[in-house]
Symmetry: C2
Subunit: 413 residues, 2 copies
């Protein structure tokens, strides 16, 4: 079906959804919970088809891993759906005030309208992002990757069944299935689309941000740093490093660069290297690191800026917290940054001066995630400053409208 027809149908359906109650929108999510549990086997079978085809096309490593669904993963997605059901309805809320002339102004939170999502292999997004879109009264056009087509088709079929069961239009959740790249480009220029969210690797996101003429929120490129200060609890720092690098190396909140204060580098770095070497993490170090860690390879300028999304780590020794802050300001992507220190002033200064969506003190960057934050799910993690920043939950899919109740008020006459 042509994209403009999909959009028109989505817009019509969205006008209907905008007038529904919280209960009606939650009913869709509840139906989806039941449908996923009922059709678990067929979802996993569709996913197997995708995995086999991808493997045959030479897809491997983290990319193949992201494509896979398991019973455990499905059950955590269902848990996410249940959390979204429990969350307060974002619609309708807003402050109300009265002008001296008696005009009542009320800010009402309303859906954005029709949201487009361009994403890579992870099919869980088809559940997560859609649950947030539906709960917040929006229609969604899903442009998943070609690799995940069978899984996404199975999941969108279930969403449409859930919508029909609750007397809503299936047009609210649509797959943009044509694998041709020109269709993705057309989505970036689809006049009337209220928001386009790219979710995936740096290349995808940059191409959308640069090409799109519809409103876009830039998400997710995470060149995340861990700065281990001179006053750090080194055991804690090792634990946070391991979690940040190895919890899931393929995602945007994973650690990519380790900065260590010179005063402790001689004790900390060998322990850190030993810890990560059992996971075969390749170190890209500066000169000081190379002297201490013979297996490290020299870091290039590109390494400091790189989002590896794999078993690599850039490592640098800094003379001060100030140098760490300057390094992060220069190479960070504004996603998530962490400091480990027991020094109060350095911790506060790090939180205050790092210009990023999420800044951690004595905790792992891996918490930058809508589910972890308690949003039930996320449509992405915004690394821009306008509209939304950090994990995007329900509120990020709404806008406001001011409605005014008057009794003939005029301003100048």
């Amino acid at each position: 079906m042509p994209l403009d027809v999909q959009l028109r149908q989505a817009k019509e359906a969205q006008r209907q959804l905008g007038n529904t109650t919280t209960t009606q929108r939650n009913a869709v999510l509840e139906a989806m919970v039941a449908l996923i549990e009922e059709h678990e086997d067929s979802i996993l079978a569709a996913n197997q088809d995708d995995l086999q085809a991808a493997a045959q096309h030479g897809v491997e490593g983290p990319r193949l891993a992201r494509l896979g669904l398991t019973r455990e993963k499905l059950s955590s997605l269902v848990e996410g759906l249940r959390t979204v059901i429990q969350l307060a309805d974002p619609l309708g809320r807003g402050q109300r005030w009265t002008l001296p002339n008696g005009l009542i102004l009320q800010q009402v939170r309303v859906p954005l309208g029709v949201i487009g999502l361009i994403y890579e292999s992870r099919p869980g997004v088809t559940i997560e992002a859609t649950s947030l879109a539906v709960k917040s009264g929006n229609a969604i056009l899903l442009r998943g990757s070609r690799e995940a087509l069978h899984t996404n088709q199975a999941l969108v079929d279930l969403w449409q069944t859930a919508l029909r069961k609750t007397d809503l239009s299936p047009d609210l959740v649509q797959l943009v299935a044509d694998p041709d790249r020109s269709v993705a480009r057309a989505l970036m220029h689809l006049k009337g689309l209220d928001l386009l969210i790219p979710r995936g690797g740096a290349a995808l996101i940059q191409s959308v941000v640069q090409e799109a003429t519809v409103p876009v929120v830039e998400t997710g490129v995470g060149n995340c740093h861990l700065y281990v200060d001179a006053e750090a609890d080194q055991e804690m720092a090792l634990h946070i490093l391991l979690d940040g690098k190895m919890g899931n190396p393929a995602v945007c909140n994973a650690l990519e660069t380790l900065l260590v204060h010179r005063n402790i580098h001689e004790t900390f770095l060998p322990r850190a290297y030993d810890l990560l070497s059992s996971y075969h993490v390749v170190w890209h170090g500066d000169e000081t690191v190379l002297r201490l860690i013979p297996d490290a390879v020299p870091a290039t300028e590109e390494d400091w800026a790189e989002e590896y999304l794999g078993l690599h780590l850039a490592v640098k020794v800094v003379d001060s917290a100030e140098e760490a802050l300057a390094h992060i300001a220069r190479y960070g992507s504004g996603h998530s940054e962490s400091i480990v220190t027991n020094d109060y002033r350095r911790g506060q200064e790090f939180l205050s001066r790092v210009d990023a969506a999420c800044v951690y003190w004595n905790a792992s960057t891996r918490f930058s995630d809508g589910f972890q934050f308690g949003f039930g799910a996320e449509v992405g993690i915004s690394t821009q400053k306008l509209h939304a920043r950090g994990p995007m939950g329900l509120d990020a899919l709404t806008t406001i409208k001011t409605v005014a109740y008057g009794s003939g008020q005029t301003r100048d006459f």
Copy 2:
């Protein structure tokens, strides 16, 4: 001075401002109040220079009017500054919650950073927008029009004096004075600028929205409608029409199109025409209007979409509220729309279904204004849905950052 140097200096100064207290930022505004009152004569003299030069270059009508400052206008701008001083500080606010593992998350509202403003003749903007920028901890680069250069220079000098008096860097408020158009274009591509706001006519706004590669909020094109329903209080409707069209025809919240229900058009339209004809408003009507109002000229397709900003009014008779809603959906610019009716269901439906920043029931669209809304001032009226919508006050110049206080929390290890 080259733009990138201005930006770098503004960024440095902004980092300092971001760490100031509410009291310090208010002190700048208080100093500005005193300086405006002290230097009123020289401000008005600079404005006279601009007005004379503009008149010599053939500027006239609303455009010349927008350029002019008076003692009354200055005193209302000072009143706006005093309101902004009284407003709650937007910075630092944000919800705080604790995850089950004890990780404390705190959303902190922080300044956007450096804001650019491209605006046309109205020099009051140099006071209004800057007051909001400073109060919300931002630096601002002001690109006013060539016509207002003397006035803007005088006002920016006062801002810089106010900053010096309060021990802050004058680089926080800078004029982009070079009148060359290439400089305005360079501002649209100034990497590192956190937000660019175009404020002015449709041509200016469209050129910025289409050309800019920095983040932009689209403001202000207002093709505003008044729909007079069959159940309207006609006296009230006439009053709201007069206010909307003649309060200030040159601004974005002025009325451009009148829609009248067929049931009452024979009584309402002649009275409306008589009322506006004393102000020499030209009517552009549909066929029904032309039959009733002989002096009206035929409305073209362009008239329905036009933001006249002057003494013209498009007028159409509709068969139903539904037709009015469809007309507004087709031609409206998403700024401000108004219905006059005493029918409860039609009023509620209008408020709910019109997709615009501000929707009025029995009141004038002229209230779409930051000062009227109680924001003290505005940096513009957003007609987009992302980030900000409607009059933009302090909150629109901030973003959020999530800071996390941990004790070694990790997610996967």
